[in-house]
């Protein structure tokens, strides 16, 4: 028998292609629909026209082009980035905490980021004029404090650390941090409107500067997480065994938690709190294609982007001309999903 008879888990080209097409389709549909419908073929021609060295006429008039490029495209791109990051972070937390229920929202990371961002908005209102906008950094600091507090509480809370102990600690942490955030926001009522807009999700006011604000953080975070895909698979057997295989589990866990929290914080600082994306997307990938992180991580990234673009589309068209907060839709989809994963993880442990 030759070595080719063995088939280790790997991301097959066809899945990669399917994931990319999913993002492409979601993107086109996302910018196509709205109060003014745009012609999908014209959108594709516009996109191709933007490629270097290619000049074609899309057939969109100036008003339509402005709707496409100034209103819808930044929103769709931002939703895609946020969705990709929340799904990837969720999968990464699930790996290092060995907990199928880990999610940026349920671990309290998102709430920590929210508190950090609120403090920045309330006490440094002029900060957006600074050379480096401190909003994502403040959110990052809050996210890190939250995730370490949750992990410590979840570990010491119960002798038998089950999947739900960590999540209970996370939910308690999230409530606590959200309460602090509400306090700050009521006290500093001058900035209340700004904070509220932010909590409900700023995707409504998405613009290109926001995309460029968070993009570097998201890229760094995604690269760090994706490059550890093989080691995350090894960490599935637990610290003692992974250590005996030559893996420094403590260092990797720390690095991945920092990277995932950075990504979450950057996402949260432009989108507000969006729950369950980190559970819905990675578990769907696992269900369909297997549990190796070599498959789960890259596909969660792509499907997360497509998922949140389409969710945002639903949020802004369902009760048009009014908008639903996007978190409402992810929660409606995510809560039942969470219960299914909870039942499955119980039957395993």
């Amino acid at each position: 028998m030759s070595a080719t008879a063995l088939r280790p888990a790997t991301l097959r080209g066809i899945w990669l292609l399917a994931g990319l097409s999913g993002v492409g389709v979601a993107l086109v549909v996302g910018v196509m629909l709205g109060p003014v419908s745009l012609d999908p073929t014209a959108i594709v021609r516009e996109l191709v026209d933007r490629l270097p060295l290619i000049e074609i006429d899309s057939g969109l008039d100036r008003r339509e082009a402005a709707i496409l490029w100034e209103l819808r495209m930044p929103r769709v791109v931002l939703a895609g980035l946020v969705g990709a990051m929340l799904a990837l972070s969720g999968a990464a937390y699930q790996g290092v905490f060995r907990n199928p229920l880990a999610d940026p929202y349920l671990l309290g990371v998102a709430a920590g980021a929210g508190l950090g961002a609120t403090l920045a908005i309330a006490y440094f209102p002029a900060a957006s004029q600074w050379p480096v906008d401190p909003l994502p950094l403040a959110a990052f600091a809050g996210a890190l404090v939250a995730v370490f507090a949750t992990y410590t509480l979840g570990r010491s809370g119960a002798r038998s650390r089950t999947a739900s102990t960590l999540i209970l600690a996370g939910v308690a942490m999230a409530s606590f941090l959200t309460a602090l955030q509400t306090y700050v926001q009521q006290r500093e009522s001058d900035t209340l409107r700004q904070v509220f807009a932010w909590i409900l999700g700023q995707l409504t006011t998405a613009s290109w500067p926001q995309v460029t604000l968070v993009l570097p953080y998201l890229v760094v975070s995604a690269i760090v997480i994706l490059s550890h895909r093989r080691l995350l698979d090894v960490m599935a057997v637990g610290d003692e065994e992974a250590d005996s295989l030559g893996v420094d589990t403590r260092r990797i866990r720390l690095l991945i938690v920092i990277a995932a929290s950075l990504g979450t914080a950057a996402a949260v600082s432009v989108s507000g709190l969006i729950a369950f994306v980190g559970i819905i997307v990675p578990h769907t990938v696992r269900l369909l294609l297997g549990s190796s992180f070599r498959i789960v991580l890259p596909l969660s990234l792509m499907l997360g982007a497509a998922f949140l673009i389409l969710t945002d589309l639903t949020a802004r068209t369902l009760i048009s001309p009014a908008e639903l907060p996007i978190g409402v839709i992810t929660a409606v989809l995510g809560a039942p999903f969470f219960l299914v994963v909870l039942r499955r993880s119980r039957s395993i442990t």
């Binding site: 008879a5 280790p8 005996s244």
Partner: protein, 264 residues
């Protein structure tokens, strides 16, 4: 071929002395069985060897000190089979065995065709090739134990450390696993150190037995020398009979005061 030396090794955990000054030479290509009552320090001794417990004293593998080796270096020398390995049920047999190649793969690298070749050889040797694509959750207990061994052998380490490797298996699978370890040990000149629960099996497979109690070696030698009714009564607080059958020793618990009818 590589030997292991423990020189005045002490382990203190949470203010308690778990290992209290232990000296031991494990010659290359030998199988040393570590026995002793619960809490004697068997698992801690294994963990100390793996670099996973804080020690004073010196542990050497070949001519190198464990404390001088980094994790990867250690993982190339010691393949470890835990008492209750964690089984990721959705993982396939080949992916699980490939994890054994981790010490040879660079930090962010991926497996090479050489790694795949080694794993294929190991799976073939353990008669696991037909299972290569199966998920671990679909295997039986005996098959799983072979898969865990496959990962250990894929590490190609000269030293195999087993922590009560068969405690979760029925008697038939216990024997199969230990026979497999023994034949691979002879084929590949491995040194084996195993903490063992079952005294009869320990006496049959290990060439030398180390009896630990309260973190000290209280008896050491061949099965003949260590597995006596008096020694076991003293250190396990157990009432046992030791029978001899064609040169192997059989240790059987006996109710104290109950009439015995065995030939001894």
């Amino acid at each position: 071929m590589i030997g292991v030396g423990f020189h005045d090794v002490r382990v203190r955990l949470d203010g308690q002395d778990i290992i209290r000054g232990l000296d031991l030479e494990v010659p290359p290509r030998s199988w040393v069985g570590i026995i002793g009552p619960n809490g004697a320090g068997k698992t801690t001794l294994v963990r100390a060897l793996l670099g996973a417990a804080p020690i004073s004293g010196v542990i050497t593998i070949g001519d190198r000190r464990v404390s001088d080796l980094d994790r990867r270096g250690l993982a190339r020398l010691i393949a470890y089979v835990p008492q209750l390995p964690y089984i990721p049920r959705a993982m396939t047999v080949v992916d699980y065995a490939l994890m054994g190649r981790t010490p040879y793969i660079s930090y962010l690298g991926v497996e090479t065709s050489e790694d795949l070749r080694v794993v294929e050889e190991v799976l073939d040797r353990l008669e696991l090739l037909p299972f290569a694509g199966r998920s671990l959750g679909s295997l039986s207990g005996g098959e799983l134990q072979r898969v865990v061994l496959a990962r250990a052998f894929a590490q190609q380490a000269p030293l195999l450390v087993l922590d009560e490797p068969t405690s979760a298996l029925d008697v038939g699978h216990q024997q199969q696993v230990l026979e497999l370890v023994d034949s691979l040990r002879r084929e590949q000149d491995l040194t084996v150190i195993s903490a063992m629960h079952d005294l009869t099996l320990a006496g049959q497979f290990a060439e030398r037995l180390i009896l630990l109690r309260d973190g000290r070696i209280v008896a050491e030698g061949t099965a003949e020398e260590v597995l006596t009714e008096e020694t076991i009564a003293t250190h396990y607080g157990a009432s046992v009979k030791v029978f001899r059958d064609n040169g192997t020793l059989i240790v059987v618990p006996m109710r104290a005061g109950a009439p015995t009818t065995g030939r001894s």
